[in-house]
């Protein structure tokens, strides 16, 4: 299966951290990139500008993906760059607390952003992918979910849910040349992981945190034509943490 000409990759939460690295890497692979952001307009513009300066195509698109109407508009706007045949469900939040004191609001907010919004966008993006007979959905999961981490019941549930959702959607659409895979990062140096327990480093066989570029390289592979037979899988990028 060949990637359609001028294909667009939509990356949610593309303004910073892993999302920004994914945007840059996909652009380098020839994707037109829709850089979605919720609050980091300036960062998203910087990411898009860097891509354009390198001769690529990119556009920052602000949208709160938790709003169903905004999600629909986001897909439509991204489609103006080119057919959206790659969706990277990267946007995510954390609201940590021990389960005993985890509030309803923090439970719901994390599930909504990290899981429900990803499903909603996947459902919307699949329409075009099925017609194109080519599609790549890459969920950014986490080693947390398959593995426990005290204080992150909401995050773990959402990220484990992403893996499960991705596997099921994958088997539904595989025969149309569409793949749905999950990249599961371990400890990656980003704004979001700043402040996490430093003792975690000792548990990582590689004895170092990963970088957003480590994750972006795996996303780029799963988005590529070369990965057409890789489906419903979870690729851990964690320095061996999940072993």
């Amino acid at each position: 299966m060949t990637r359609p000409e001028n294909s667009c990759a939509l990356v949610t939460g593309g303004s910073r951290g892993i999302g920004a690295a994914v945007c840059e890497r996909l652009a380098a692979d020839g994707w037109r990139v829709a850089v979605n952001f919720r609050s980091g307009a300036e960062d998203a513009e910087r990411v898009a500008r860097a891509i354009v300066d390198c001769g690529g195509h990119a556009e920052p698109i602000g949208a709160d993906i938790c709003d169903p109407a905004a999600a629909g508009e986001l897909i439509e706007r991204a489609g103006r760059l080119g057919p959206v045949t790659c969706l990277v469900n990267n946007a995510g939040i954390r609201a940590d607390d021990l389960a005993l004191s985890l509030s309803e609001e923090d439970w719901s907010a994390v599930l909504e952003t990290n899981l429900s919004a990803a499903f909603r966008l996947t459902r919307l993006a699949l329409r075009g992918m099925l017609r194109a007979r080519f599609g790549r959905v890459v969920n950014i999961g986490s080693v947390i979910g398959p593995r426990a981490n005290a204080g992150q019941a909401n995050y773990a549930a959402a990220k484990a849910g992403l893996i499960a959702m991705g596997k099921t959607v994958a088997v539904e659409v595989a025969r149309r040349g569409v793949t749905v895979n999950t990249v599961a990062p371990g400890l990656i140096e980003t704004d979001m992981t700043r402040g996490l327990d430093g003792t975690l480093l000792g548990a990582i066989p590689a004895r170092r945190a990963g970088t957003p570029h480590d994750v972006a390289a795996c996303v780029a592979f799963l988005a590529s034509e070369a990965a057409g037979y890789v489906n419903a899988s979870t690729l851990f990028v964690d320095g061996g943490l999940s072993a």
Binding site: L130, R131, E172, V173, R175, R176
Partner: protein, 81 residues
């Protein structure tokens, strides 16, 4: 812009969609069964989206699961207009 819905236009849209799914045009008749055309649940879900976009008629999986022939489907779409 949605198309005017008549039995003919619905049949044309359904036929074109099924050809896109790989069905042979000459085998697409009102009497043809989904099974004989090798139309699966994903085909029907895609077809439902085409119908919604072209005619504004929403078909759910539960609507089509009991249908046997293309004629049944076309009649259902026209009846929902």
């Amino acid at each position: 812009m949605q198309d005017e819905m008549t039995d003919t236009t619905v049949t044309d849209v359904v036929t074109d969609a099924l050809v896109g799914f790989g069905c042979e045009r000459e085998e697409i008749t009102r009497a043809a069964t989904f099974e004989s055309l090798d139309i699966d649940s994903l085909d029907l879900a895609e077809l439902a989206q085409v119908i919604e976009e072209r005619f504004g008629v929403v078909l759910k999986g539960s609507d089509v699961v009991t249908l046997k022939t293309l004629g049944d489907l076309i009649d259902l779409i026209v009846a929902r207009a």
